[in-house]
Amino acid sequence: MVLTLTLKGRSIVPGRVRGTALVSTKPISFLGGVDANTGTIIERDHDLYGKSIKNVILCFPHGRGSTVGSFVLYRLAKSGLAPKAIINSIADPVVVVGAIIANIPMVDKIDIEMIANGNVIEVDGGEGIVRVFRGEQACI
């Protein structure tokens, strides 16, 4: 496993995890956009349509839409369907509050274009650091 890139962002929720990146170029509304019973993206026209966000490191530009999204993140976490960590370009308060109460490590102010789908990445939520690796699958 080779460390290819270290990105410095802003710490939002502390916690260190390693996992596989699932990257979207589109904003996500957790209410309506994600099926809270399965953890699958159900918004039509979304570039992650049909993908599961369970246990991935979910990278997307920012949240949008319903303010109930915070509770949906909490609900996903309690059912074991939440992402391992969240990386945003600009965090919006709805996703931030959801990550706080669900205790999902989170970093923002990251250029998510530097991360590719399937990259193994390590998130240090406390330091606001994202490390991108190549060459080996993550142990989930």
Binding site: D45, A91, V97
Partner: protein, 392 residues
């Protein structure tokens, strides 16, 4: 962020876990977004009331909070639930759903929060212009900032709840005058004919604006209901918290990114919202909840007509407005429609109520319903919806 001695005590847990967790949410937000301090709010409005949207896990969270003997310290109101307990159509839902929804409503009530169960709390009591609020419900946030001139960030459900309990919000974002100026200029060249065109425009703008504040020029009307539809839609497809409809200074306008809206942009947005060629089995108005004036419009349009037997027509509003609108409610209900309170099509169990295709004038509902409710959608203005409902 600077905390007073009192606030620090709460942060350290001297008033118990529930206040502590609330204070921690507010301080975290304040630290992240560069607030210097907490400021008192006039009111809080809390989203996350429908059992359909929040599920069992969140009931546990609310139970933990309510169980630790907390009370709202400012006026606090709540978003719609999934059921109108005074309307018989909801009795067909499962006993488990009916019981759990009631439990959620009771938990908010136990915390001293008003169970107003509406997304339009401003029709019950409008906040003062210039007052600071902590409101969730994205459509109400845009309405408060843009139409009322009150000041609120777009809060998540839990942070609005935290603010309700603490009575304060971190002083950042929309609470600072310098952040309320327009940052993009929108020139509307497309023809806007009715409220649904305003909604379609909102969806289009939300997608491209991100968190920018648009100054919108060229709106043919500043009718409140149209602006409400536009704002609600913007907050659905984007994270917009505010728009300006009036002129800013010329100098400022010159420096801004300009977005031109032409007829084909609007057509594209409308086509993306209307995805069903099928006949609807539910016609729905009231997203966001209807005002007195909207009930009047619907009553005038439906007067003397009859809703067909094979279609339902719902008009959703707050109980407060329904009680004030008796004369319009009578007209709508004697035509075969239902004026439903405390809930709406988006946050109830449409499929369990045998709805497969929904027709609505609300762009927000048209955007959410296919994924959130699993129904097909036809998107049309009030007049056309009523024509379809009453077609012989």
């Amino acid at each position: 962020m600077h905390l007073t001695r009192e606030e620090e005590k709460i942060y350290d847990g001297e008033l118990g876990w529930a206040y502590q967790v609330s204070m921690r949410i507010l301080v975290k937000l304040g630290d992240l977004y560069g607030a210097d301090n907490l400021i008192p709010i006039e009111s809080a409005h809390i989203s996350g009331v429908s059992y359909k949207t929040i599920g069992d896990a969140t009931i546990d969270f609310l139970e933990a909070l309510a169980g630790s003997d907390v009370r709202a310290s400012v006026t606090a109101t709540t978003n719609p639930a999934g059921i109108d307990y005074e309307n018989a159509i909801f009795t067909s839902l499962s006993g488990d759903i009916i019981e759990k929804q009631k439990r959620i409503i009771n938990l908010y009530a136990k915390m001293g929060i008003k169970t107003s169960l509406t997304c339009t709390p401003y029709y019950i009591k409008a906040p003062r212009c210039g007052s600071h609020l902590s409101w969730a419900e994205s459509s109400a946030v845009v309405y408060a900032n843009s139409i009322i001139g009150a000041w609120t960030n777009r809060e998540g459900g839990p942070s609005a709840l935290a603010s309700a309990l603490i009575g304060k919000t971190p002083n950042y974002g929309m609470h600072k005058p310098e952040n309320r100026r327009a940052t993009a200029l929108v020139k509307v060249e497309a023809e806007l004919k009715d409220e649904s065109d305003y909604g379609a425009l909102g969806i289009y703008l939300g997608k491209i604006l991100k968190d920018k504040i648009p100054l919108i020029q060229g709106l043919p009307s500043n009718e409140e209901g149209c602006l409400k539809q536009m704002g609600a839609a913007m907050a659905t497809s984007g994270m917009v918290s505010m728009f300006h409809g009036k002129r800013n200074s010329i100098r400022q306008v010159r420096e801004m990114e300009t977005i031109n809206i032409e007829d084909r942009d609007l057509r594209e947005a409308r086509e993306g919202l209307s995805i069903s060629p099928e006949k609807p089995d539910l016609i729905f108005f009231g997203c966001p909840h209807c005002s007195l004036n909207e009930l009047k419009q619907i009553a005038e349009a439906i007067k003397g007509k009859k809703v067909r037997n094979d279609v339902k027509l719902w008009v959703c509003t707050s109980r407060f407005i329904r009680n004030k609108a008796k004369e319009y409610v009578d007209v709508i209900e004697s035509s075969g429609g239902q004026v439903i309170c405390d809930t709406c099509a988006v946050v109830t169990w449409l499929r369990d109520l045998n709805v497969k295709t929904l027709m609505t004038n609300s762009a927000k509902t048209a955007y959410y319903a296919p994924s959130l409710n699993g129904v097909k959608v036809v998107f049309s203005p009030i007049i056309e919806c009523i024509n379809v409902a009453c077609q012989r």
